[in-house]
Amino acid sequence: MTAPRTLYDKIWDSHLVDIDGDGNGLIYIDLHLVHEVTSPQAFAGLKAAGRKVRRPDRTVAVPDHNVPTTPDRLTGKFLDEEARIQVETLDRNAREYGVHYYPMNDINQGIVHIVGPEQGYTQPGMTIVCGDSHTSTHGAFGSLAFGIGTSEVEHVLATQTLPQRKAKNMKINIDGELGPGVTAKDIILAIIGRIGTAGGTGYVMEYTGSAIRGLSMEGRMTVCNMSIEAGARAGLIAPDEKTFAYVQGKPHAPKGAAWEQALAWWKTLPTDDGAHYDTVVELKASEIAPHITWGTSPQDVAPITGVVPNPADIKEEPKRIALERALNYMGLKAGEKLEEVAIQRVFIGSCTNGRIEDLRAAAKVAKGRKVAAGVQAMVVPGSGLVKHQAEEEGLDKIFLEAGFEWREPGCSMCLAMNSDRLLPEERCASTSNRNFEGRQGARGRTHLMSPAMAVAAAVTGKLADVRKFS
């Protein structure tokens, strides 16, 4: 009888091509997602060496990072010449190497981490990589999914494998019921606040407990998406009936007898009783409030009812200096109430919160309200299919009537590679994943939060507690 194994152990074991005595492994990659920003040098390297893509059938490409989100993109026009070259390079490489491809104005185009699950490419038990750190999103299906650099993209294109050492196992258990207005985004912000942005370094984190089980697939993707913000290699959630129901019937999901065979295997994946985790972290769902970030690192979080922290309270010098720098950058004063802080911009979208459920939650708060004077707010659906679904449900009308802009799908102002960006010192309520200095535009100020909280901020003109909107 074999020793009890975690979900991560099982995926690792079933994908090991080779391993030496020092633990240097080579793992097989089941799905390779590709976008325009981190792939051109990889394809160029492949070509220079005269190599081919080993599994074009397991490679999926879509432009997302720097596509425009304005309506005029339907004419194929780019304002930005360098962006156009990158997107056209992906077009060319995708066609030349015969990989699955969704071009910019295809209804199925969108953010790569939204397209993968939506098209049924993402399935339990897989190994999934992409030249993008938010690949951890796909861990919501019980697949081992992580971001890689461009050299590794080239390695996977050429060999369908990746040299890896096994990470350690961490369990993050959250039991109980979430309070009103508390979402998956608040769970992951609370986790990062607890363990810090390096808390997960060297680990694969598995999220367990009744609060996680209670989340929809969309919510689980939000949680796993930000695993990288806690420094983890990947985040995982065991597949269950919700997972199977989500995957079934998607265009690239297994069908018929293959479905039954896949399902039987997927059901063996959850962690065995008694399996060993190197670290265990416990949070109580009932104690998680709606969270926002106040600083320039995703670990700089507080409940919306909180205040800006005081550097004088920090003993360790490097941390105190970092805090002073963050407050200076963010234009905030120690002790200031977060609910008093005025905002000028709102961004709803990204691979963290650009799925249909996120737009529904946002629309629920936006309905019958108006974006505050002096605030510019935009909604960027995560994919063409999300946009279409939202329009079928009339969500676009709710947003437009409330004064939000309704855009074409892409990464947009999550990283501001296209023209969607903050001006210096503009303050943004954002549903994205990073609040780094300059992330949403040079000198721009980002506060991360859930979609419902972002709408609450939009209509109030200040950071606001969504629990006061019912």
């Binding site: 720097n66 993008d132 690949t135 890689i148 590794e152 295997w265 490097p318 590679m417």
Partner: protein, 207 residues
């Protein structure tokens, strides 16, 4: 990829924690299809104010750090994005070695793909090297990968740990893809096994 054996160079100080990939190279420099020429974006928003005025205390604006090839930084260096543009920018500027108490996982791996040696050391050793680095041109530091040691300007020696396989590849400038392709038959065997147990992963042709 260039080999990394022994490096004697000026070490530059970057006494900050959580230096993220957006700080190392902001997104406006990612719209390239090349690996080179990225030094122009290195620490773009740290080394100058929004109007383009150089920040005098930043190492890139100080003459004593001209030609620096070693960077000494705080906890969790390289956190954030998977962009390999971060090590490409460091390399393009001339940095071949980064020393910190800890690194983010993806950045750490990306360094080895580009002949850059990231070294993790305990806080007291990093503090010592940070002091050395703050002395600028007078403080040349030697990093010896073969013997896994760093020699400071005052003759003190600091040992460091590194994964044996990564060390071997850096010392010899080995191409990872070439090494993996030597295992082609193992990959072929894996695929035939997986085709048998998980045939749905082999069923579909390209879209």
């Amino acid at each position: 990829m260039d080999k990394f054996t022994t490096l004697t160079a000026v070490a530059a100080p970057l006494p900050m924690i959580n230096v993220d990939t957006d700080m190392i190279i902001p997104k406006q420099f990612l719209k390239t299809v090349e690996r080179t020429g990225l030094a122009k974006g290195l620490f773009f928003e740290l080394r100058q104010t929004p109007d383009g005025t150089p920040v005098p205390e930043f190492f890139m604006n100080q003459p004593q750090y001209k030609g620096a090839q070693i960077l000494v930084a705080g906890d969790n260096f390289g956190c954030g994005s998977s962009r390999e543009h971060a090590p490409w920018a460091l390399l393009d500027y001339g940095i071949r070695c980064v020393i910190a108490t800890s690194f983010a996982d993806i950045f750490y791996n990306n360094c080895f793909q580009n002949g850059i040696l990231p070294i993790k050391l305990p806080q007291e050793d990093v503090d010592k090297l940070m002091d050395d680095a703050k002395r600028g041109q007078n403080a040349r530091v030697t990093v010896d990968l073969q013997n896994q040691e760093i020699k400071g300007p005052d003759g003190g020696t600091i040992k460091f740990e590194i994964d044996t396989h990564k060390k071997h590849c850096l010392l010899n400038g080995l191409d990872n893809i070439g090494l993996t392709l030597e295992k082609k038959s193992k990959i072929d065997n894996f695929e035939s096994r997986q085709h048998g147990t998980q045939p749905w992963l082999y069923a579909q042709a390209g879209r």
